[in-house]
């Protein structure tokens, strides 16, 4: 189906189901229950899951296939965001031109940065990309303020000269990003017994684009191009002596991957029309690296899992404060309650970084292939007799240390 192999079709269908049913899957707890804190099925976070999923899928095309570790990929995401917001300011609040322009802009920058950086490999390549991204970030924060609005971030104002559309709505508000009139921020909530589920227009647009992006990535993985990229990672010398020029391939995938980042940036701006410079900071670039490695570099679905994992921690764990903890453990006797809360306190709320850091360490120590390997181990344990043999997935298993 879809020109994919049997296994890939299964994975793809699973991704489609997950993406379309996310509003249900991410809200497993009844709204009134104390565990509702763990629900992630609200529009903003769901959008972030898929947008960062796209970003990580694109990054994985470069890093997972060729092994080139770009440490400046967030620059493309930021440029995409700026391009999209400018499109909203100048042209129209429709998201289509904005998203297209964000991909084009990110692609163009990727051509330039990639052309220069790909002259070196290994860590030298990483540092070159890092340097470009940090330069973009520093300049966007300061000197380029007329274009980027500096620290505050580029936003839509009431006096934007929008060519197609009006500067302000009739009631004096800023117009809303839309897809041919369908507003991105619109959403409907459906209550089922104690549960409630949010269906957001913005989320479904992102989800559909993510599914497309995933599909394209699968096709690239299985194409001669994808095979060449894996060959580059495996043995560049052999590739050269087999009559192939690695540079155009790496540049092509760098640009594709940059355009994925631009797409993610454009979508981010479409969901929430603001573009801040910290989107381009090295920590943001590092984040996508971590997402990919955490999920499982070189696997199809790993980066999406990694993106979800990190964003979940950032948005859910950071909001658990002491009063929430007290709510959970109110059933315990007072002394015990305070004791349990004292134990948990450093790990939630303002301590969410600590939990995230520990999770990084645990995953990389015990699951060298990332979360995907965790999934494989579980499925292997469930059906011992059927050994897993997924071409892409098996690549993830490194030799265990020691």
């Amino acid at each position: 189906m879809f020109g994919l192999g049997k296994k890939d079709t299964t994975v793809f269908v699973v991704v489609i189901i997950l993406a379309l049913c996310a509003p249900f899957i991410l809200n497993p707890f009844p709204t009134g229950s104390s565990l509702a804190q763990f629900n992630a099925g609200y529009p903003d976070l769901m959008q972030r899951f898929v947008i960062f999923g796209i970003f990580a899928i694109g990054f994985n095309l470069l890093f997972g296939l060729t092994g080139y570790l770009s440490f400046g990929h967030a620059a493309f995401l930021g440029m995409g965001s700026y391009a999209a917001v400018w499109m909203f300011k100048l042209l129209s609040m429709n998201v289509i031109p904005a998203i297209l322009l964000s991909m084009v802009v990110a692609g163009l920058f990727a051509v330039v940065i990639g052309y220069v950086s790909l002259r070196r490999s290994g860590i030298y390549f990483s540092i070159l990309t890092l340097a470009f991204a940090q330069m973009s970030y520093n300049l966007a924060y300061s000197v380029l303020t007329p274009i980027t609005n500096g620290e505050t971030g580029l936003q839509i104002t009431l006096d934007d000269p929008r060519i197609l559309g009006s500067s302000a709505t009739a009631d004096g508000s800023i117009p809303v990003t839309n897809l041919f009139g369908l507003e991105m921020r619109h959403f409907t909530t459906v209550d089922v017994a104690g549960w409630s589920f949010n269906f957001s227009v913005g989320y479904y647009l992102c989800a559909v684009i993510m599914i497309l992006a995933f599909y394209v990535a699968v096709r690239i993985f299985r194409s001669p191009f994808g095979m060449m990229l894996r060959a580059i990672k495996s043995n560049q010398q052999r590739l050269y002596y087999t009559g192939l020029n690695a540079r155009p391939y790496t540049l092509a995938v760098f640009v594709i991957s940059g355009m994925y980042a631009g797409l993610a940036g454009g979508l981010m701006a479409s969901m929430d029309p603001l573009a801040g410079p910290e989107r381009m900071q090295w920590t943001a670039s590092g984040e996508v690296v971590l997402m990919t490695i955490l999920g499982g570099a070189g696997t199809l679905i790993g980066p999406v899992l990694g993106a979800g994992f990190i964003k979940y921690f950032e948005n859910i764990f950071s909001k658990i404060n002491d009063s929430v903890l007290h709510g959970w453990f109110a059933f315990l006797p007072d002394g015990l309650e305070n004791f349990v809360i004292a134990i948990l306190h450093p790990f939630v709320g303002k301590g969410w970084h600590l939990t995230l850091g520990l999770m990084f360490m645990l995953v990389v120590i015990f699951l060298p292939g990332g979360l995907v390997e965790g999934g494989q181990r579980i499925s292997r344990a469930l059906r011992r007799d059927k050994p897993e043999d997924n071409g892409a997935a098996s690549k993830a298993s490194h030799e265990p240390a020691e």
């Binding site: 508000s173 929430d272 909001k319």
Partner: protein, 448 residues
């Protein structure tokens, strides 16, 4: 798909409970339209406190959070009532807001506009917050203010000092109690003139981003108006930690005053570096070399240690103030937490009370009605003397404190002494002042 709106969790929660309880024939109930975003319909109302919990401003954020918790406690009738007792408006009676118990959710801004917006969105979309408050930088304040405008909730800004927040980036749904760069400059200038004279040459080091620029612009204008000369203004990268290469040329430039338009970690480092260079022991143009830090934060000043001694700056509020409001606040904060509150804590506490009071007076949580109640509101008893929430730009006008690093601190909190309380009249400006021009409040957005 019906009309555009953000979620209204309050409605849904009760709707769901009712649905389950009465066992309606259909278990599907779609949300019905309500008057405004997150209209609280149950017995409680949720406020969202969005403060930096990670990153360099985490301690300031933690202090803001303490203040919010205290304010919620007081609103719900707990504790000693703090400034509710001294507040000139007497609508708050310890029964929550409009009889609804006040609940709150917290989030981490990370001092990044993106993260701050994500966190605020989750409060609005997931937790049904009807008001967002907090924050420790102007970039975040402006970003979250913009979000609240779009979402249709009230934003009560925390610590944000840039002129832009109530200048070119002002929004109908956003309100700022904290003072701004212009006011700092207007308050500082006369004191500087008195202390250092009219004939001074100033050298500015300025953090290279919007807040830094507005701060520098304000100070330069105010000091030049009284006769000072500005020798140079050097922009320093935000990420800079070592300012030696910027400070080294200062002495040789002919300047005799160094103005550090830095905040937070930048301020601590640049001030420490400047003192290390021995600038304050030098004589230039026959005068003692002086350093000025226009915006002081006591929390951050602690990081600079002894280096703040004798250095002038301005602050929104200080715990050593002896008016009834301040005393009541320090008493109740200090009793609960064991140390005096910071100016960030003060502004957050006050903003929460002001919001609650405005709702009470408006008789509704509708942001448009709340906004109308805040606009032009005159009040007293919240630690800053008589204060006006100006309708034109949603900026509070009140006295500004000029402070100086204390020579002989008695405790680790006793770092600053109030030198002068600059009266409100002296720091007022026209709403269309050039430094604040270019913005538009727009119309208030109730969301629904």
């Amino acid at each position: 798909m019906s009309k555009s709106t953000l979620t209204r969790r309050g409605v849904l929660r009760t709707g769901a409970v009712a649905g389950a309880g009465v066992a309606l024939p259909t278990i599907f109930t779609s949300s019905s339209a309500s008057a405004f975003t997150n209209e609280p319909t149950g017995g409680s109302v949720t406020l969202g406190f969005n403060v930096p919990q990670t990153g360099p401003y985490a301690d300031e954020g933690a202090d803001e959070l303490r203040a919010f918790e205290l304010a919620v406690e007081h609103l719900n009738g707990g504790g000693d009532g703090g400034m509710m007792n001294t507040f000139s408006s007497k609508t708050l009676d310890g029964t929550g807001i409009l009889g609804k118990k006040v609940e709150y959710v917290t989030g981490d801004t990370q001092t990044k506009s993106d993260a701050a917006r994500a966190s605020a969105k989750s409060m609005i979309e997931k937790d049904g917050a009807v008001m967002i408050s907090g924050g420790s930088s102007s970039g975040v304040a402006v970003a979250v203010q913009g979000l609240c405008q779009e979402a249709g909730v009230i934003f009560m800004a925390g610590l944000t000092h840039s002129n832009d927040t109530t200048g070119k980036d002002k929004k109908a749904n956003g309100f700022r109690h904290f003072f701004n760069a212009y006011m700092s400059a207007a308050a500082l200038a006369p004191v500087l003139e008195k202390m250092y004279g009219k004939d001074r040459k100033a050298y500015h080091l300025t953090a290279d981003y919007t807040w830094g620029w507005t701060q520098q612009e304000s100070i330069q204008a105010a000091t030049e108006a009284m006769g000072w000369e500005t020798v140079n203004n050097v922009l320093t990268p935000l990420a800079q930690t070592d300012f030696s290469s910027y400070i080294a040329p200062v002495l040789n430039s002919g300047a005799d005053v160094l103005v550090l338009n830095h905040y937070g970690g930048n301020m601590v480092n640049s001030l420490t570096n400047a003192v290390q260079f021995g600038l304050r022991d030098k004589q230039v143009n026959g005068k003692n070399f002086e350093i000025v830090v226009p915006l002081y934060s006591r929390l951050m000043a602690r990081g600079a240690g002894e280096n703040v001694k004798g250095i002038f700056g301005s602050t929104n509020w200080h715990w050593s103030l002896q008016d009834e409001g301040s005393k009541a606040f320090v008493q109740s904060f200090g009793t609960k937490y064991g140390f005096p509150p910071s100016q960030a804590a003060h502004t957050c506490y006050v903003q929460t009370l002001l919001y609650a009071d405005a709702v009470q007076r408006a008789g509704s949580f509708n942001p448009c009605e709340v906004g109308a109640a805040l606009e032009g509101f005159e009040f007293d008893g919240l630690g800053n003397g008589p204060t006006l929430y100006r309708a034109d730009d949603h900026q509070c006008f009140k006295d500004v404190l000029v402070v100086r690093g204390k020579e002989n601190p008695e405790s680790e909190f006793d770092l600053l002494e109030v030198v002068e309380v600059t009266p409100r009249a002296q720091v007022e400006y026209a709403p269309d002042h050039p430094m604040f021009a270019g913005g538009n409040l727009g119309s208030c957005n109730p969301g629904a």
